[in-house]
Subunit: 407 residues, 2 copies
């Protein structure tokens, strides 16, 4: 594939959603040279859900793929592979290995929503790290002074607060730095929390006479509570969200975050984003409309256009009326009845209200429906005996304030 | 061999020349139990001269042997064996291995002057350390916090002075601690500079559910300049000194050190040492006489009684007259002439003076001899043509202030 060296494109890739580039001038020159570059991202094979915060990096990797560069995904399976030295029986290793494969399958499913997996080089760091012995670790340690290892804010803060810092924590940068030495890629990408480890990689590469990698740190995505999006804070939107959940989730972000989300999570043209900024400044646009556009664009990129369109319609019908509370009660589909093979249940409106416990009694539920108080996904039905199809993400309403969402 | 559990003997072994015992009560109990204990000393296979400061530990190991316990000498060949990870070719390893063997031969020759080598268990830590990988190092590191690793005075001092501390220096305690875990001996012995590493061993053993070793640190021997005896300070008396050099060297220590030398380097009875202390306090003994006794006892223990006796006689004849300067000029035997198979040269007194350059000309030398100014080892000879036997350690005198020593 021919490398795209359009300076405007290169500059956008090096700035959009990017926190820092080390060394920027060097990397820019390389990207303009027409040379095919290798960029790598490291990940733990611990499995679980990725969220839109992770996707910021995935978008950046996709940018590089679209310029014609090569992406390497490094799986940090080594530390996971062996727990402690007394425990190296083959059976356990096999067990852990199959778990890692399982986790990586799950990871790739999410990673692949943004990055072209067919062009990704997947490597496992156990292939080289398992060959290092105690002396090799000592040799790596010799490249650093104690002060260099502990001067980081993350360590200093805890030392000052007299919180314990495990001595092992100081060894991980050596391990990750050795990954960089082994891979010899042109670029490593990560969050700014990975900057120290990536710098260690540069230092180790330099020490061994290898061209040091350039480093890209990406910006952090803010959750709807104004804090960094993260799993521990429960303020995140999973990459695997249904189109409707993703769309609804994006509609909850604060207006101040709209532009940042456009920048980090979409590839809407910079010019267009500049116009949005201008329009918002002038008050000539309703932020809610921009947010709808954002929600649609992001949902589209993870769930496809058709699903995004449906999610948008449903959201407008049900939620945009401004009546559905944000903290809507959720009930599981299985608690209402037994879903068929397509995940649907067919019930009368009356049965639905009773099963969802929105009304105290059958007679109250029947009266509510007949008086026009029943809605499913914003559609009013007044016949208590009409059979409707119930599925995940449906929103049921009974009266002015009674809402449940099927999950 | 039956274990000697005489409490008086045990208490002496645990106090004489001992700086600290951790945990003293525990170790005392073990020694009184009649159980055969294992004690180990670690050494680098870097070769070279050992001195009387090292012998303090050797004496202590000998004490344990005489009680019936078992000594293990651990050779730290691992770090020496492999320099850096890019350099693991077999040829180099073989080269290093043969050098290690050479060094250990030299070490044992000196160690064996005090310790009964036939009862020493010799082990090389490469046999287990080479099997550890990066994960094992991480697991060991997990047992410690960063603060625990850097709180030592040796590290803190340098940090405060802003002197660099290599990060690798923090890893050696893990390595040495793992040696302790692997050996599972009852006791480790070392200098107080090794205390941290030995404590790390205890901690690692405890972590892995192994009975933690007790620790003995020995006292430091002071050189004749009042500082710790050490090779870098050039204030040391080598274990391999000739009897005369050792005897003379010991005669240069300050009076205040006599009792400490008796305690650390001889096994003269404690009661006798107490009497010396008393006599010195009362001024009823000439310290020089005690020093002669010390020099004889120590020289005897390294060079045998006969050699010690000869050294003493020669010292008294030549040096005790108080005329031979301490900074006597030394010339090599080979520079005077070609030694025979017994290391001796036969020359006339005149030839000796000329070859040793003590006199400017043959005529001056001849006159000096005839006037009674020539002495060899304190014996005057007035015939310039008399043939004498010249060998190592002989002291030649010409006139009042001209001295050379043959080395």
């Amino acid at each position: 594939m021919k490398i795209n060296t359009d300076p405007k494109k290169v500059d956008e890739v090096l700035s959009r959603g990017v926190e820092d580039v080390i060394v920027k001038e060097h990397l820019r020159k390389e990207m303009l040279s027409g040379k095919e570059l290798k960029i790598y991202l490291g990940t733990d094979p611990t499995g679980g859900e990725l969220h839109l915060g992770h996707a910021v990096i995935h978008k950046k990797l996709r940018d590089f793929q679209e310029l014609g560069h090569k992406v390497t995904l490094l799986v940090g399976d080594f530390t996971v592979l062996v727990g402690d030295h007394s425990d190296k029986d083959d059976q356990r290793i096999e067990l852990v290995k199959s778990q890692i494969e399982e986790n990586m399958k799950e990871y790739k499913e999410q990673f692949g929503k943004t990055v072209d997996l067919s062009k990704v080089n997947l490597v496992y760091n156990s292939s080289w790290l398992k060959k290092l012995d105690f002396n090799d670790v000592i040799d790596l340690a010799k490249i650093f002074t104690l002060s260099q290892m502990v001067e980081r804010d993350a360590i200093q803060k805890r030392l000052k607060e007299e919180k314990p810092v495990g001595f092992d924590e100081l060894l991980y940068p050596l391990m990750q730095g050795f990954d960089a030495l082994e891979l010899k890629t042109d670029i490593q990408i990560g969050g700014s929390d990975q900057l120290f480890n990536m710098q260690a990689g540069r230092k180790i590469m330099e020490h061994y006479g290898v061209k040091p990698q350039d480093i890209i740190t990406v910006k952090l995505l803010i959750g709807n509570d104004g804090r960094k999006m993260g799993k521990s804070l429960k303020n995140y939107i999973p990459i695997r969200s249904s189109a409707f959940d993703m769309y609804s989730g994006l509609m909850t972000i604060v207006d101040e975050a709209i532009i940042e989300y456009f920048t980090l999570l979409t590839r809407v043209l910079q010019e267009e984003i500049s116009e949005m900024v201008k329009a918002m400044g002038e008050g000539s646009v309703n932020p809610k409309d921009l947010k709808s556009k954002l929600a649609f664009e992001v949902t589209k990129s993870f769930n496809g256009e058709k699903e995004a369109r449906e999610a948008e319609e449903k959201f407008k019908k049900v939620v945009s009326k401004g009546e559905v509370p944000e903290d809507i009660t959720e009930i599981e589909l299985g608690d209402v009845g037994k879903p068929d093979s397509k995940g649907k249940i067919h019930l009368t409106t009356l049965e639905i209200l009773v099963a969802s416990k929105l009304n105290q009694s059958r007679s109250e539920a029947r009266r509510m429906i007949q008086q026009g108080g029943f809605e499913i996904n914003g559609e009013k039905i007044t016949d208590p005996n009409q059979i409707v199809e119930l599925k995940k993400d449906d929103v049921i309403r009974s009266g002015k304030r009674g809402f449940v969402k099927i999950i």
